[in-house]
């Protein structure tokens, strides 16, 4: 009998081996791994203190001054053994507060945090008291969240929030702008590495001097913008210098000569960057880290600020060091791994349960992009690309997220190393397809060199750092709820008689499937309509609540137009936003089952179906089984896929027609994070045989367990349900769970490469793999202690399996495992 095949990760967990072979990063990670995160209140506290002092001043200046206060007053600490310094919190694993977002609910949420089922945090009683007394009281009545909740029209509001004190999400037409102050974003780090913040100060001073004092625009808009850039740049330099001071202090007390030398080198570099240009690989890495860390302090970017094309902008420094004999591949890997550990220490803290439920397992995606093409369209893979991939295999950690761009000219070595890394089984890297992304960016107005140079940002989105300018988070829409409203004439079982959607009629009066479909599409459209109304307000309100002097200083268009990144429109920019279709597979399969069983085969009536659904199939097992066996999405079955194509078309057409009014590409996306779990919790049983309040299908993946024709069929269904003529579309997230036996040995790698090439040629946006035996996850559920290191792929990121909620664990187990035959 053939023995069971395990992935490299499964073998490590089974043999209780530690990753990283006891190297520096492996030792450092001991302070972070499996530790419950603490809240560090300093960011929230100093921002609040500063905001109290700056009322009435221009918003961007207030933000800059708050950053300066933080840089002056925050606690500076350096972890023993660490080569990379600059952190925003306590030792170990920490999260920080952004009270400007939803500080009004701090008191309520802080008390819930330690015991929360998804992503809990600890806070000391003393700190909790400061939060309630000094932070929450100031922000109450001033936050973005409160203003948005007040401003939404009544009929939009009831689809958005519950009627409770904290306006918690209703998970129907869900806004995401009040748990993050920007969508996922990536800076132009290159300008910091090449020119430094002193250049930004110099550039801004020159511009200040040439302002026209008679011009109100110059004095009221440009001047505060430039002053804010100067204050912020000085603040980040000051902050780095305080690390230099601390490193020198520690060096003076250090007895180990090796560590002493390390500390003195840390001090030297921290005095130099990010103010001055970097001149070595180590300096470049540290400059980048100070910059991204300060950006994390500046604002809560959705899924955390991304790292951009690290293998590209760091490569010249690596190459130069290598030529001078000043670096080895191992040393470069060690430095990068020190950065990964610092990323793991910083946890993206979501105060609201909504945010926590969207981003389970302490999710953050500071995506590192590798591969792809250079701005002139050549293949971009280099030595650093392979070092980063190797690091993911040698030292598997859930941060940073790794995104590998593929294109038609990707060399074999690159594809094979990507496949080898996927096979390791920790879910890295996710794969993003140039052949889909670049034409879409071009069609939306980008130049070739900008489009070729895109960076993956956050979960599955792609950004052009000096051309993108739209930062407003979009709506996550629960279309399974729209389906439920079609069955119950605008109502949902969870909310009783409350009319939430449209009254599209009693479905038992429908005489054809087309009538049912039309009714559903009316509900679908109604949700999008409300999402766009939300967006209209969000675009306006955000500009009054948030500023990003650091982000603006790193954007060419912001600097040229003296406009803060969070303003509604920035001259010359391309505005790419989106809204999410949640529950795609659930809705397609439900409609397909109704079409086939109720209207074509007449196995039961719609009233019988509704009775079965109302009873959550109890006593209706036969109906449930028939529903489960109906044609479903993800099997390359045109019966279901044609329905999917229609839903996609209707949603995309709406975006095309009404996005134009915004002058923004509000594109249709299929990226759930982990929201398909909480969204499922409001939706009763659905006609695809799904039980009440269980997870919806995720992203553009098939319903759990419905994809029975293998992974090529999943990709084909994805391909055939996409309206490629409409460019009001963006990422489609796709999860595939492969049995390790599918990819065993060199032949397995080769077949995986062929599969990835098929994905690329089909021009699908995104794919990611879990190479794991379902049995391993079941065992991890039973014995979490022994499986603490088990990483699994979720939705654009990897997380420790045992840190996920039971619901999400069950959902991962239920995803069909694809075997090779």
């Amino acid at each position: 009998m053939a023995g069971k095949v395990y992935s490299a990760q499964e073998r490590r967990v089974l043999n209780k081996e530690k990753a990283g072979n006891g190297n520096r990063a492996a030792l450092l990670i001991g302070n972070v791994r499996g530790i419950k995160p603490q809240i560090d209140i300093e960011r929230g506290l100093y921002f609040t203190e500063s905001f109290k002092e700056t009322e009435g001043q221009p918003l961007i200046v207030r933000w800059a001054k708050a950053l300066r206060k933080y840089a002056e007053k925050s606690t500076i600490s350096i972890e023993d053994g660490q080569l990379i310094v600059g952190r925003a919190g306590k030792a170990g694993r920490y999260g920080i507060l952004y009270p400007e977002l939803d500080g009004d609910t701090l008191g309520i949420n802080i008390e819930k945090l330690p015991g929360r089922s998804t992503s809990p945090f600890d806070i000391s009683a003393e700190d909790a008291d400061i939060v309630k007394r000094e932070i929450e009281t100031y922000w109450k009545g001033k936050t973005y969240h409160e203003e948005l909740a007040k401003s939404l029209p009544e009929d939009t509001r009831k689809l958005t929030y519950n009627l409770d004190e904290e306006s918690s999400s209703r998970f129907i037409v869900n806004e995401t702008s009040s748990f993050r102050s920007s969508i996922q974003w990536v800076h132009d780090y290159e300008i910091v590495l090449q020119k430094g913040f002193n250049w930004i100060i110099k550039d801004s001073r020159e511009k200040l001097e040439s302002l026209d004092e008679d011009s109100a625009f110059d004095t009221m808009e440009k001047k505060p913008f430039l002053e804010a850039l100067i204050i912020t740049s000085e603040a980040v330099i000051l902050w780095a210098n305080r690390y230099a001071d601390e490193a020198e202090r520690l060096a003076s007390e250090e007895h180990d000569p090796e560590r002493k030398a390390e500390l003195l080198e840390i001090a030297r570099i921290s005095r130099k960057v990010p103010g001055e240009p970097a001149e070595s690989f180590y300096e470049a890495v540290k400059s980048q880290w100070f910059t991204q860390m300060f950006s994390r302090i500046e604002q809560k970017t959705g899924t955390i600020i991304s790292n951009g094309r690290m293998d590209q902008y760091l490569y010249p420094f690596y190459k130069n060091d290598l030529e001078k004999g000043q670096i080895t591949p191992d040393r470069a890997q060690e430095l990068l791994e020190c950065v990964w550990v610092e990323m793991a220490a910083f946890v993206d803290l979501y105060l609201s349960e909504t945010g926590g439920a969207f981003n389970e397992g302490y999710a953050h995606w500071e995506a590192v992009t590798i591969g792809g093409q250079t701005p002139d369209g050549q293949d971009a893979a280099n030595d650093l690309t392979y070092i980063i991939l190797k690091s993911k295999r040698d030292f598997p950690l859930n941060y940073p997220d790794l995104a590998a761009r593929v294109h038609l000219g990707s060399p074999k070595r690159y594809l094979y190393e990507v496949a080898e890394t996927v096979k390791d089984g920790t879910g890295f890297p996710k794969i993003i397809n140039d052949e889909e992304v670049i034409p879409l960016l071009l069609s939306k107005g980008a130049e070739f060199e900008e489009a070729y140079d895109y960076a993956v940002s956050g979960c599955a989105e792609c950004r052009m750092p000096n051309r993108d300018t739209y930062t407003s988070p979009g709506a996550y829409i629960n279309f399974a709820a729209a389906l439920e409203m079609t069955l119950y004439n605008g109502r949902m079982l969870k909310y009783g008689d409350e009319l939430l959607g449209l009254e599209t009629g009693d479905p038992s009066d429908f005489e054809s499937f087309d009538e049912f479909l039309e009714a559903y599409l009316k509900q679908q459209k109604n949700f999008i309509r409300h999402a766009f109304r939300q967006q209209y307000l969000i675009n306006q309100l955000r500009a009054r609540h948030f500023a990003s002097p650091l982000g603006s200083s790193l954007s060419k268009l912001c600097r040229e137009s003296f406009t803060d990144l969070h303003q509604e429109h920035i001259p010359g920019g391309i505005d790419l936003g989106y809204f999410e279709f949640i529950g795609y597979g659930t809705v397609i399969d439900s409609l397909s089952a109704i079409k086939k069983l109720v209207f074509e085969e007449k196995r039961f009536s719609i009233s019988e179906l509704i009775e079965a659904l109302k009873n959550n199939f109890e006593g209706y097992e036969i109906i449930r089984h028939l529903l489960l066996n109906a044609p479903s999405y993800g099997n390359d079955d045109s019966y279901a896929d044609e329905i999917g194509l229609r839903l996609d078309k209707e949603a995309g057409d709406f975006a095309r027609k009404y996005g134009k009014e915004f002058d923004v590409h509000i594109d249709l996306r299929y990226v759930p994070f982990t929201s398909h779990v909480p969204f499922g919790k409001v939706v009763s049983a659905t006609p695809n045989g799904r039980k009440a309040y269980t997870p919806l299908s995720d992203g553009s993946s098939a319903s759990q367990g419905a994809d029975l024709n293998g992974p090529t069929a999943i990709l084909n269904s994805n391909f055939r349900t996409k309206n490629r003529s409409n460019n009001y579309r963006a990422a489609r997230l796709l999860n595939i769970k492969l049995s390790p036996g599918c990819v065993e040995g060199p032949a397995g790698t080769e077949k995986l490469v062929q599969f990835i090439e098929g994905f690329r040629d089909l021009k699908l946006w995104h794919v990611q793999f879990n190479v794991i035996n379902t049995e391993t996850m079941r065992k991890a559920q039973e014995n979490p202690e022994e499986y603490r290191d088990l990483l699994v792929r979720i939705a654009g990121y990897s997380a420790y399996f045992t840190e996920l909620s039971k619901d999400l664990q069950d959902d991962l187990i239920a995803r069909t495992e694809q075997f090779a035959i």
């Binding site: 009998m1 036969i622 390359d636 069929a713 391909f719 077949k751 098929g758 089909l762 035959i821």
Partner: protein, 285 residues
Amino acid sequence: MADTDHLRIFNVQKYSLHDGSGIRTVVFLKGCPLRCKWCSNPESQQEEPELIYRRAKCIGCEKCGLCKGKSGISFDAEGKARVEFDAAEEKLEWTKICPTEALSIEGRYISIADLLEIVERDSFFYRSGNGGVTVSGGEPLMQENTVKFLKIAKEHYLNTAIETCGAVNRERLLTAAQYLDQIFFDIKSVDDGKHRLYTGVTSKPIRENLKALYEAYPGKNITVRTPVIPGFNDTERELRAIEKFLSEFPDIKWEKMKYHTYGVGKYEMLGRSYPLANMELRAAE
């Protein structure tokens, strides 16, 4: 139903990784001249579609007991259906009514055009590794239309492969070979008596077919496969004999396949018993 343009198949398996180069779609054709006692695809043996009962899927709704062909159905202590396969005259009625597909028909007729359409749906995945279509079974060459299908597949520039037991009409085999890029040819034993005892036919015509194929198509990509079955051919002497026979064909690759029992459950589903069950089986390592 059967006409000149149809094939009897029982499965189309996409994303097959071990049946030829690249990513393949395997078409399993129904009907086999052999009755190997270890056969792991018993549903492939009979030529015509047949009833299969997957007890694990039965929810005991007793719908099948209410329909016309109820004479062959009873219910056991757990409330699940018990099927008398021989008495089942109204099989089709049961399978139409069964909500869970516990009772279903294994095998169906499909036109060559429809089959080709299914195979070509995965074209994107065939490109980079010379993937394509593999006909398997049963014995794919038991059906004359398989040759026709292969010819058309070749006209569509698909990479083609076959898995054959070799006990087929020689002329058909040689005709088919011109449309095949890869051939997997079973040599289970070179001992005629033993071969007959375990598979129902002797080895000699199979060996002669291989020889004819080799001579007619020099340089053809042929792999001989030998399932290594405990108690049948797993001794050094047996395997040496095969090796010796194969030494006449220096270009041919030889793969030994491990015995597995994945198919055992299917015998019960088809109302049969596993032929090897009563035999002395050495534990397969």
